[in-house]
């Protein structure tokens, strides 16, 4: 999987949920979206990316991925 593409995708997802004033709830919604719509190999790839520093992930995207 192209990690840069996945990072861009999760950042876009996070950007949508960023309007949620409760930061925890927003991170939860990002994680929920990934759980419901991302195929497992995409999720493990983005988790691996996070483990390696999560370069390019927005703060909310990072918090969302952390909850996977």
């Amino acid at each position: 999987m192209n990690v840069e593409r996945l990072v861009a995708m999760v950042n876009d997802i996070a950007a949508f949920f960023a309007s949620e004033p409760d930061a925890d709830a927003a991170a939860e919604q990002v994680a929920y979206h990934l759980q419901k719509f991302w195929e497992p190999r995409m999720r493990s790839e983005i988790q691996r990316c996070l483990e390696q520093g999560g370069v390019g992930l927005s703060p909310l995207a990072r918090r969302g991925v952390e909850r996977l």
């Binding site: 192209n2 995708m9 309007s19 195929e39 497992p40």
Partner: protein, 952 residues
Amino acid sequence: MYSIDHKDLGTPAPASTGTVTLDIDGSTVTVPAGTSVMRAVALAGGHIPKLCATDSLKAFGSCRVCLVEIEGRKGFPASCTTEVAAGMKVRTQSPRIQKLRRGVVELYVSDHPLDCDTCPANGHCELQDAAAELGVEGSRYANGGASQRGVKQDASNPYFVFNPDLCIVCSRCVRACDETQGTLALTIEGRGFSSRVSASQHQPFLESECVSCGACVEACPTAALTEKLPLMLGAPTKAVSTTCGYCGVGCSLKAEVKEETVVRMVPNRAGTANKGHACVKGRFAFGYATHADRVRRPMIRKRITDPWREVSWEEAISYTASEFKRIQQKYGPNSVGGITSSRCTNEETFLVQKLVRAALGTNNVDTCARVCHSATGYGLKHTLGESAGTQAFTSVMKADVVMLIGANPTDGHPVFASQLKRRLRQGATLIVIDPRVIDLVRTPHIEAAAHLQLRPGTNVAVINALAHVVVTEGLANDAYAEERCEGDTYRKWKAFVSDARNSPEAMEAISGVPAALVRKAARMYAAGPNSAIYYGLGVTEHSQGTTMVMGIANIAMATGNLGREGVGVSPLRGQNNVQGACDMGSFPHEFSGYRHVSDAATRSLFEGAWNATLASEPGLRIPNMFEAALDGSFRALYIQGEDFVHSDPNTNHVVAALSAMECVVVQDLFLIETARYAHVFLPGSSFLEKDGTFTNAERRISRVRKVMEPLAGLADWEVTMQLAQALGYPMHYSHPSEIMDEIARLTPTFHGVTYEKLERLGSIQWPCNDAAPDGTPTMHVGAFVRGKGKFYLTEYIATSERSTSRFPLLLTTGRVLYQYNVGTQTRRTANLAWQEEDRLDIHPDDAEDRGIADGDWVGVTSRTGDMVMRAVVSRRMTPGVVYTTFHFPESGVNLVTTENSDWATNCPEYKVTAVEVVRVGQPEAWQARIRAERGAQRSPALPTACSHRDEC
């Protein structure tokens, strides 16, 4: 002329609910109030001769053939224009009536050629019928059509011909073009015997404003306007009701056949979606089904660089199955997948996803809705609770305000456009939100009250600004929203849209739409009282596609415009069965009826029925499949009726992904672009070759009926069954009705659907179940499907695709009336007479800056690729925005589009690509360079058509 099996009642049914009892020729008859005497007679089994009346048009009363006697009334009233009244006594036959009728018909015959035997309408002509009925064999005044002689036949339209000498000037054609189609292309000019029908300003039909819908041809009582095909092939002998295989309007049609050949397609006047109308595609462009390019034998090849080898069905199927098994063994169960087709039937898409989930044991199934309305599914499900439009098409006739966003119905959904135009001409207000000046902005008798000509990519900025006005000016329907929706989300949303950053004034700099115009539009929408939103791909195909769908649902909920007729949120879905493909569980994360694969109860229901263990994790979506193919973890794909290489963005990326796979199976009518990268080709069957159902944009399930045998021997559902069998998962259906029975058992919204009920009711709008046994025209009545409606915050986020000094223009894409989607079908019809290439629309200022004149060849470059096409300099465009269609593979539009996509669904951002456009002196050199670049990605051994083309 109308369909051969239509019994014409003379005038349309009235809208009334009450009844009236009268006496007709001594019999007591009860009919709906408002019925004409002519229709009442026909309903009672009688008949009155007529020439200027037909039941698709308002009574006109010009021919005077339909005279009757009515007790107590003077003279002989025309039965078509006279309404029934309680106690009325009508006499339809008497010597005096006969004499008068005979005299009138004699006059008509006097100016008409008398060679009925050789006339194409012989046996299906109302003048001939009237003359025969009244015993008129010739005329005392006969001049044999002399007054029209010398007026040339007009055969310019590829599908029909106008013979002025056969015209009786009944004006049915003129009224059909006005009332049924709404184009007003025809007039009657001149007087008396020299009066005649004229298209536009004495132009040939092809060059006139005529859009070739055929309504006039159907309305014509003689052979003056007549289809060309029956002239060549002979008159049809049988009519089979079916559903159009083109767009999401889902028009009910009658395929009129002679033996197994379709000679005429006539809209079904009983069709609920189309009310007896059709467009140029559905009515005329069906010739592709028997085109010589159809592939009739399965083919396989080991490598995509090898030539194709024709094989038997058995060999093709067993080769495919063995390859899929080998690949799964080597790379794991999730290394394979399948794609269902929005052009195939519900039953066929259901089988493909069943094969993928149950026989292959993976959820890697997706559908072409991914690239069009996936955002609709997500957005409406989350806000309202159901992934579908909320209304029936007829609802528009009760709308006071219509807001049309990112849709161009006169081209994309023509028959709905005709209905919309009827409503607008009755006085409804139109708001258009679109970067282009679409036809409906200004067309005969119609002018949009507001056109918000926004910059591509700024929909969300505009919907937030509209919502800002609704909330801050106190125009929201708080009582409705508080009662029907989650109060906390509503209040949060109100606070969000009220913020100054969402005001029209603040958003003007982003969207380019003057704040005052946004305020005006918001006030009109909120005032209603019935306001309806219709939208198209201009909403969904954006990086914020889903956000915009949610924004639309938000504003509809906030103003109370959901849950009754005349209001609602209606996506105008593109392909014939894109709604159905989504309903049938084609998405990788959900089963039929939009139930998530992680839901244990649903999964166990399917596991029990299918006798298989099903995966609980979502599968790959189409763009994810491409990514996985490039990293080597996805190796085989079964594609039913979808041409990725032509239709999906960033062609080079798609080609690279397909080329990396080990077994690509294409099941299609033609050797489409994607077949260049396939290892197996399985011949598909057209909608004329199978039984099944399609579901249109208003959730209407309609029957598709077989009128000819599949050219390659098998219908698509039979091919999928054979493949399942070869994979060791036998399926046992002897008819698609049995597949529908299974769908109904497993899908709550389809519980009540059977072929028997479809036969009885004509069509059914889902949900159809115990609570709504006859279906559900309007959704969310009383309460939303999800319980309480949910508001989402829709922050505007600019797309990363922006104009720059290198790519200063924004390209947006769309379609034209005459071509359909990737053009595979319509390019193989005479519709090429209207459009034979994609063109680039560019504003005069942008054209002038670049030295581009109308018709010049231009090169279009984006960060992903180039294309070359001719320019159309047009004021439909706003400066800074260019537009093209994607119907012709040689233009390579998707070489230029990018892989940007919607955040929630990966629906591609087709509507915004930053480009530069330059005038090209030598288009051949550009084309050669682009071909070379594309060719480098392609197999060197490219068959362009079936090797048996000559014998086909």
